[in-house]
């Protein structure tokens, strides 16, 4: 058997594969969003001066960073029912990915908050902002800009980690690919199709991240250091550049 382009292209444009890729992307996006929210709360815990608040946050990060995400998933999907808590495949998948991702986001967000100029908080409080308002209006937006590159790493990693959900028969990209292989016995072509879809997702995210970095980079002297990704792509495929982007700060 040799590489068969027909199979490759048939499955590349197969609606089941495309749908599975979309599902995978959405699951990763929702999980990453939840991971960020939980991670933010954990980061506040990690920063707290009260042991009562800090200890649980530290324990959480210790557990979820120290154990394999696959075991976390199996604990939730097969373990919880043993305690009488029934979870669907989707619930188990999203919750385990979120909980796992949150441990990493917590450390990232804590680091970003710690690296902010303490003068910012002082200035905000001096004009009467409460601690909550200071966080919401001043510190969080500044931290968001710092968090973005690491957030991007986490999200692309999250998209790849979704493949673990194939273990509990969740119909994500890898699982659907495996099923297709069992029909065609063409692993090389089909795993290649899956790889292309993962790459597409990662590329889509790069464009979004680029846009986000510009949006949150407002007011930062060092914001537009990165060229937009599409300018690289354009150069790669030798498009003439019809207009030059005005870089706004």
């Amino acid at each position: 058997m040799t590489w068969d382009f027909d199979t490759f292209f048939t499955y590349l444009f197969d609606s089941r594969m495309a749908w599975a890729a979309l599902v995978t992307f959405c699951v990763a996006a929702v999980a990453q969003l939840l991971a960020t929210v939980v991670g933010f709360v954990l980061a506040l815990g990690l920063r707290s001066r009260s042991n009562l608040l800090r200890a649980p946050a530290v324990a959480y990060v210790w557990f979820f960073r120290g154990t394999p995400p696959l075991i976390q998933l199996l604990l939730i999907y097969f373990g919880l029912p043993q305690l009488g808590i029934r979870v669907t495949v989707l619930e188990a998948g999203i919750s385990s990915l979120s909980l796992y991702g949150a441990a990493y986001m917590a450390e990232i967000i804590r680091g970003a908050l710690a690296s902010l100029d303490p003068g910012q908080e002082e200035a905000a409080r001096s004009i009467g902002l409460s601690r909550f308002e200071t966080m919401r209006s001043i510190l969080a937006p500044q931290a968001a800009r710092l968090v973005l590159p690491a957030f991007g790493n986490e999200f692309t990693s999250m998209m790849r980690t979704t493949s673990l959900l194939s273990v509990i028969s969740f119909q994500e990209l890898l699982r659907v690919t495996t099923l297709a292989i069992s029909e065609t016995f063409r692993p090389f072509e089909l795993y290649s199709v899956a790889a292309v879809y993962y790459l597409l997702m990662a590329t889509l995210w790069m464009v979004v991240q680029d846009w986000l970095e510009r949006k949150f980079g407002v007011g930062m002297a060092s914001a537009p250091v990165r060229r937009p990704i599409w300018s690289d792509i354009k150069r790669l495929i030798r498009f003439p550049r019809p207009f030059s982007r005005k870089i706004t700060t």
């Binding site: 100029d117 003068g119 910012q120 002082e122 200035a123 905000a124 409080r125 001096s126 004009i127 009467g128 902002l129 409460s130 601690r131 308002e133 209006s137 001043i138 937006p141 500044q142 800009r145 949150f216 407002v218 007011g219 930062m220 002297a221 700060t249």
Partner: protein, 261 residues
């Protein structure tokens, strides 16, 4: 101004304020009063506790001992029955808006334009409408001579411009007193003047001001009283034309020699 100011009752009284940081007594019992509309300058060597004192004055940090009395009311404490209990951070916000503060390093919010920096607190703290407060913000920017910088971001402005926006930001809360912590120290000599001019005008309008400054010329002309701090206490105080010309202590003599060199 001195005579008129002295006749008024004090707007701010500081009684035996002590602050300990990292196990060291940074402030060891500070006493002074500030009459409404007067200008008090605080001078002293680096590390003598000037910034710590200013932070205590608007409760960014809470003194360990002593009291601060604002318009006859003890700050940071409320009387419940016969006992005094500390106020929570939330209850201090009202006081803090009445005492504006300007910092050596400007501390403008980098993600906001000059205008947005100014309207942030009136909008979030006082809940005022953007359209309504924007007009006042424009007036404040005119006052600090920055009408042309409304939409500039901090990193696009010179240090002198940033510091004047910072003053406007503090004034937007309509404070009754202003604290200035070495606000020209980070500026190039040619930019100091524009900030000092704004401060001089504020003093002339009758704003109560407490400022830490090493601009001896400015202090001599604008301040009603000078406090010389040394190792956490007020070592000398008085009229600038007395204290700065005839320092009594060896420490002040040495200090003046260093800053005028």
């Amino acid at each position: 101004m001195t005579i008129a100011a002295a006749e008024k009752s004090p707007i701010l009284e500081v009684h035996g304020v002590v602050k300990r940081l990292g196990g060291v007594d940074i402030l060891k019992g500070i006493n002074f009063t500030v009459a409404e509309g007067s200008v008090v300058a605080i001078i002293g060597a680096s590390g003598s506790g000037k910034s710590t004192l200013l932070r205590c004055l608007n409760m960014l940090i809470v003194p360990d001992d002593g009291e601060i009395v604002w318009k006859g009311q003890r700050v940071g404490w409320v009387q419940k029955g016969s006992t005094w209990v500390r106020q929570k951070e939330k209850e201090l916000l009202g006081y803090r808006t009445q005492v504006g503060m300007v910092f050596q390093s400007f501390n403008l919010f980098p993600q906001m334009t000059a205008l947005e920096n100014i309207i942030e607190a009136p909008m979030t703290v006082l809940g005022r409408k953007r359209s309504e407060i924007e007009e006042e913000a424009h007036a404040l920017l005119r006052k600090v001579r920055l009408s042309h910088r409304v939409k500039a971001y901090p990193h696009q402005m010179s240090g002198g411009e940033q510091q004047r926006v910072a003053i406007a930001r503090a004034l937007a809360m309509k404070p009754k007193a202003m604290l200035f912590d070495e606000v020209t120290s980070a500026l190039d000599p040619e930019l100091k003047g524009e900030v000092l001019t704004v401060m001089r005008e504020l003093a002339a309008e009758g704003m109560t001001m407490i400022l830490v400054s090493h601009e001896m010329g400015f202090v001599r002309h604008v301040a009603d009283e000078v406090l010389f701090m040394h190792q956490g206490i007020v070592k000398e105080r008085g009229n600038p034309s007395d204290v700065l010309v005839n320092p009594a202590s060896a420490e002040l003599q040495a200090f003046l020699q260093r800053v005028t060199d």
